[in-house]
């Protein structure tokens, strides 16, 4: 007999309790602390902060714990929380030239002022499962460097810039538009595009960046420089009228240097693709830089042939909170729409095979 679709409230409550139990897992295993997540799953925390657009390790750790390690879900939690935060003002642009370097490498110069600083990286490890991590035990302490890194670490792009070999970053006093407050409209300028890419899903950007390397809108990139370290964040409170430091944040910056043969208006010179992310998010920063450059195709008079060059395509689909929600909304009931289609298909079938129906 017909069971009315009643009792939704109770079912939802029960589902939530079940989920909480599932999240906790075996109660004999000690519960994760936020400090553990933050300290020992640091790269996950940093990815969630980047895509969630909030720099707060503790909140990100909480989101990861609450989402059972599902990073896209954690990003979503952080974003929804972000909506409720008041805005006090905005900071001055951070100066990555003054970064306290922990890692700095260039693929374009063998040596350069300040040298190559490897820092903490997986790059040269053999990807062998390290079974010693399965047991308790502390790693050997890393020996301190024989000498501290140079205080002066000029950015590679600045070095090239002095010779005019690379385009200057355009300077503008215009207030950039804010993607989180205003709707996106097309065409979008580069400041908007960079905001979108900074929040974009790492996997999506990675695949797009990869597609440019495989010939779908090639940009002839060189990894001019990748640097990671701490920069100070400054704010000018209205009542003071001068800048004060409010925090240090870890950033990864990638500056791609791309070939450009010149055009009628411009002499041959290198062009830039830019990537920036919170924490140690090198893959994200590099992918972002490649896609940024690729989205400049129109501005630089290049042929528009590939998805990564198409700003409407890239920007409309880059956000994993939007994408995840809309893909999964198909789980919601669609009885009414389906009923309408069902009725149509039955009616069409009753009339016999499609073609005769038209006559």
């Amino acid at each position: 007999m017909y069971v009315a679709v009643k009792g939704g409230e109770k079912a939802i409550d029960s589902a939530h309790r079940l989920m909480a139990e599932d999240r906790r897992g075996d109660r004999n295993v000690p519960e994760l602390s936020l400090a553990q997540v933050s300290e020992q799953l640091g790269l996950a925390v940093e990815r969630v902060m980047t895509e969630g657009s909030i720099h707060d390790r503790e909140l990100a750790a909480l989101a990861i714990k609450q989402a059972q390690g599902d990073l896209v879900e954690a990003v979503f939690l952080l974003r929804a929380y972000r909506t409720t935060l008041p805005r006090f003002g905005h900071t001055l642009p951070v100066d990555t030239a003054a970064m306290a370097i922990r890692r700095r490498i260039s693929a374009t110069f063998k040596d350069l002022p300040g040298g190559q600083v490897l820092g903490p990286t997986y790059d040269y490890t053999h990807r062998l499962l390290d079974f010693s991590l399965a047991e308790d035990g502390e790693p050997e302490e890393a020996p301190p460097a024989e000498r501290p890194v140079d205080a002066a670490m000029p950015r590679v792009t600045d070095v090239l810039g002095r010779e005019g070999l690379i385009e200057r970053n355009p300077e503008s006093d215009d207030e950039p538009r804010d993607l989180t407050r205003q709707p996106l409209t097309f065409p979008a300028d580069r400041t908007l595009r960079l905001q979108n890419l900074a929040r974009a899903d790492e996997g999506f950007l990675l695949s797009l960046a990869y597609s440019t390397q495989r010939g779908y809108g090639h940009t002839h990139p060189f990894a001019g420089e990748i640097r990671m370290g701490e920069v100070s964040v400054e704010l000018v409170p209205e009542e003071l009228g001068f800048a004060i430091e409010i925090a240090d944040v870890t950033l990864t910056e990638c500056q791609m240097i791309n070939q450009f043969k010149g055009s009628k208006e411009k002499p041959a010179q290198f062009t830039r693709g830019y990537g920036l992310a919170f924490g140690r998010s090198e893959r994200k920063a590099m992918a972002m830089a490649l896609v940024d450059r690729s989205l400049r195709a129109e501005e630089l008079g290049e042929d528009l042939t590939s998805p990564a060059q198409d700003q409407e395509f890239v920007m409309s689909h880059s956000d994993n909170v939007e994408a995840s929600g809309f893909v999964q909304h198909l789980k919601l009931p669609h009885y009414v729409d389906f009923q309408s289609e069902l009725e149509l298909v039955r009616r069409l079938r009753a009339q016999g095979p499609g073609k005769e129906a038209a006559e």
Partner: protein, 283 residues
């Protein structure tokens, strides 16, 4: 006014609500026109009614009485979840009775009980752009709206008739609002389209992921596209509702066993229940 866990009344801060109200005012001033707005991330996923929730949050006050339906039902999971969200963050009264509600947020249906002046119905919209499947580019579709360049929409209907002998769009059926803007009514069945025409209630549409708000002010003309010799028509059922006996409502099909057993019942649960109550009272 703080209600639950330190969140502002109806979750959004007052600045954001003002921004949403401005978008709504503009939408009401230009019926059917999609107004871009600074959609915020909400604690519900995109595609699950974030646009409708933001519109409701923008207009709701402490004295409002809210009804939320999904597929016509007050008790489906998503309707419950959204109703609770406002009960929690705004502490307002909720109801399942259509005529009692001041604001009705809906996904995919318009209630069978006629709306009256002073009520507002808020539609959750997944994809606001009626030209989207014909033209993927926002820059181009905005131009087509500006120029009322809508011929291509009829090309689609023409194709339907050529292929199937009839217009085969059954839900989210495109309409022309106030004889000017082409509009998607959200995925309501075309059965509900006639209810939009010259409706005394204010009809608001929110698309969160696509960041658009649009509106049909009270008593505005809403015409479903058609051809003179293939006029717009709505679905009809050969059965009556198995529970309340209505022959005028939109019916959902319920599978009762695995041997082809089916029954048809009202999709609007409030309407159905009230008819059954009335019948019982009469007996």
């Amino acid at each position: 006014m703080n209600t639950s866990q330190g969140y502002n009344f109806a979750y959004l801060d007052e600045q954001t609500k003002r921004m949403i109200r401005r978008a709504i005012l503009k939408a009401v001033a230009i019926p059917g026109y999609q107004v871009p707005f600074g959609s915020r991330e909400m604690p519900l996923p995109y595609g699950w009614g974030t646009g409708g929730i933001q519109v409701t949050a923008g207009i709701i006050g402490p004295d409002d009485i809210l009804k939320v339906i999904d597929q016509g039902a007050d008790d489906t999971t998503n309707a419950v979840s959204i109703r609770r969200f406002f009960a929690r963050t705004a502490g307002i009264r909720t109801t399942s009775r259509t005529e009692e509600a001041t604001i009705i947020q809906t996904r995919h249906r318009i209630p069978e009980t006629p709306l009256s002046a002073g009520q507002t119905i808020v539609y959750q919209v997944p994809t606001p752009e009626p030209l989207r499947w014909l033209e993927p580019r926002e820059t181009e579709t905005r131009k087509m709206h500006a120029l009322a360049d809508y011929g291509i929409m009829h090309v689609k209907l023409y194709e339907d008739i050529a292929r199937f002998g009839r217009i085969s769009t059954t839900y989210d059926y495109p309409v022309l609002v106030d004889d000017r803007y082409l509009m998607r009514p959200s995925p309501i069945p075309k059965f509900d389209n006639p209810k939009m025409h010259r409706n005394p209630a204010l009809q608001l549409f929110g698309a969160g992921r696509e960041k658009r708000i649009y509106a049909v002010p009270p008593w505005t003309s809403v015409r479903s596209l058609d051809f003179e010799d293939h006029p717009f028509e709505v679905q009809k059922w050969s059965q009556a509702c198995a529970l309340c006996g209505s022959t005028e409502s939109f019916l959902d099909e319920v599978v009762t066993d695995d041997k082809g057993g089916r029954m048809f019942v009202c999709s609007d649960t409030d309407y159905c229940q009230r008819r059954r109550d009335a019948k019982e009272a009469a007996e």
